[in-house]
Amino acid sequence: MPSGVAITGMGIISSIGQSVEENWHSLVREKHGISRVENFTTTHVDDIMVGEIKLTNEELIYRLGLPETNTFTRTALLGLCAAKEAVDQAGILDMQTYRTGLISSTSVGGMDFTERYFYDYLTEPALQRYITSHDAGDSTHKIADYLGLQGFVTTISTACSSAANAIMMGARLIQSGRLDRVIVGGADALSKFTINGFKTLMILSDGLCQPFDQHRKGLNLGEAAAYLVLESAEVVQKENKKVLAYLAGYGNANDAFHQTASSEDGEGAFLAMQKALKVAGLQATDIDYVNVHGTATPNNDLSEGRALIRIFGNQMPPFSSTKAFTGHTLAAAAAIEAVYSILALQRETAFANLNFETPMEEFVLIPETETKLTPIRKVLSNSFGFGGNCSTLIFSES
């Protein structure tokens, strides 16, 4: 059986913690990070709840030791915090020792600064240094340059499945022998742009989100960043690296149904899970825990639920959506949930699906409602996005 690609480091910053350990503690204590927007003003402040990281940009700049005058957007700041932790954990001291790459992902990029200075840029030269921080590649460049990474660097943006695709591409580059190690993940900051975008789609909850609940009213947006370090078997052996877990399988498919809505039978999700199982050489019955996409929108949870039933039949393993902890962190979500999946493997714990009360009437799918200690050897994690982009990752214990 193929063991997959070794994961030797991980880092995360989210509304439930500024490190892997802090996230773990919040998860097992069932402590969510959903609150009102505080870091910027929005007219929707009282209508929505979000997974906001309670650090200002200035605090993040201080924490990272960056010069006061810099061009880091919030996405780049969050990304760097998480990437640094991942690289530190993997014990990487010199980026040039091996062929090292970085594949990041984001949906908003530098939109947080663009929306702040959109008109002012034309008249205030002092602000113009941020103009080239708008695009999606900017935060990736900032992280690569800070880490001193000269090699393969790219960025993926496939909406809310982005980071899963970054992880997948990283694994393929290692498997093809093109890279020895690669830092993969994603970062997204909260912005007025996305808040208002999701608001117009009427899929934001005015309270705490309730994934897979009959009375779910929509999602909570969140901000976060997370990265994994993937390394080739040769590097792991040569450096005697501790392997946290393996990426055993991955699958990518398109729902080809609607620009923003998921199909009724979850075809794209079904295909992504099916492909990932095939790549991993596993059967559905081998999966011990599923970290579902579970955004808590009426459409996603119904579509994903139907796809899960198509894969698992009436033998659904323990599952939960951790988005009630962090909010939906868009492009970063799959990386956040990759870290949680690895924690689930390492510490044999299925996390709680918070705020669940009433099963959905369309099917019998009951998520874990409390932290549960249970043997976990394989975890399947789903991430789906606008544009029909569906991705599944499968992690196995080391």
Partner: protein, 352 residues
């Protein structure tokens, strides 16, 4: 065993019009700082109601992709891999203006829905009803090359037989005026071609270029993609080794490179990279193309189309040559592109 990846179809919408065998011969040099594309009629491909809602980037992407698929005779690709530097700028700006101007009130979702970076690739999938692998890369001037590398991995490993790979970038007023303000784009009124440029900045444009790639060779196949390399950071001194190593890993001697296709764009400073490289290839025919289609993040995709045409027909119109040299037979062609000294890419093609 490693399979071979062939370029079997090309599609493009550019400042010179849509892709055809005559496009390069009929092209005229751009002299203005911002040049929009010459749009084809879209109504044969997209319903009028949809055309009205779609931004230029989506329309161009759909047109170019269909052209590429048709020529490559691919009805349903095994993967759609796209690149874009700035994404769906028109709709992003439109939605953002509405948010800012109306104090976050009275908004409609259409522009937001179409603002995500993966809109072009997903609209192509939707139109084809293609449920296969679907990726969008968004990394400045290697957005396209990232997509090409992804496609190459899948074709060479036998994971896919037919792939649609390409890129699209569109102009939008505000962003381009900001890029002009900081000197990325030449000032209004300056009329300089790439070759006679004496001012900072570049002539910008927009466009979409797609390729139908397959592991099977056809009678009209353009060329074989040998390899793709992407590097975040290379300084001018390291450039020589970067190129030499890439060729060496592909068992190609420097003397075997029959033509260079360079992303020279008229930015006096960063064009130094090309000057440096040319010092090692002084007897090699050198081709450029951004004087015809302008600079945009994914404009290097057009370089691949030019290279394909050169290898298929063994010649190019005179105006494509930066440096002309006698050459009877073009077998290996090397493409090199970078932007402001970052995001370097090399693509090696072989004649079939």
């Amino acid at each position: 065993m490693k399979k071979t990846a062939y370029i079997n179809g090309i599609g493009a919408v550019t400042a010179q019009g849509v892709w055809s065998e005559r496009l390069l011969a009929d092209a005229t040099e751009l002299q203005q700082s911002i040049a929009p594309v010459q749009h084809p009629s879209y109504k044969e491909m997209i319903s009028p109601a949809m055309v009205r809602r779609m931004s230029n980037g989506i329309k161009m992407g759909i047109y170019a992709s269909q052209q590429a698929l048709d020529e490559a005779e691919i009805a349903m690709p095994d993967a759609i891999v796209a690149g874009t530097g700035l994404g769906c700028l028109e709709d992003s700006e439109k939605f953002l203006r509405n948010v800012l101007d109306n104090d976050e009130q009275f908004l409609t979702p259409t522009a937001f829905i179409q603002s995500t970076h993966n809109t072009v690739a997903s609209q192509i999938a939707l139109r084809l009803q293609c449920k296969a692998y679907n990726f969008t890369y968004v990394h400045r001037s290697v957005s396209f090359e990232s997509a090409l590398l992804d496609a190459l991995l899948q074709l060479q490993s036998g994971k896919a037989t037919h792939i649609l790979a390409g890129a699209s970038d569109e102009i939008s007023d505000h962003t381009y005026s900001l890029l002009q303000q900081i000197g990325y784009i030449k000032q209004d009124g300056i009329q300089e071609s790439v070759k006679n440029s004496t001012s900072v900045g570049v002539n910008y444009s927009e466009g979409a270029v797609f390729f139908g790639l397959s592991t099977n060779k056809m009678a009209h196949t353009y060329a074989e993609i040998v390899d793709v390399r992407i590097q975040n950071d290379v300084n001018q001194v390291q450039l020589k080794d970067f190129v030499a190593l890439f060729l060496q890993e592909n068992n190609v001697a420097i003397e075997e490179v029959d033509a260079l296709i360079l992303g020279i764009n008229g930015d006096i400073e960063s064009d130094q990279y090309y000057t440096h490289l040319l010092a090692d290839f002084d007897a090699v025919p050198t081709v450029y193309y951004k004087h015809l289609i302008g600079q945009f993040d994914s404009s290097s995709a057009f370089g691949l189309a030019v290279a394909s045409q050169l290898l298929k027909h063994q010649e190019l119109p005179k105006q494509l040559f930066w440096q002309e040299q006698e050459r009877k037979n073009f077998r290996y062609v090397l493409l090199y592109n970078q932007f402001k000294g970052k995001d370097h890419s090399l693509v090696l093609l072989r004649a079939c």
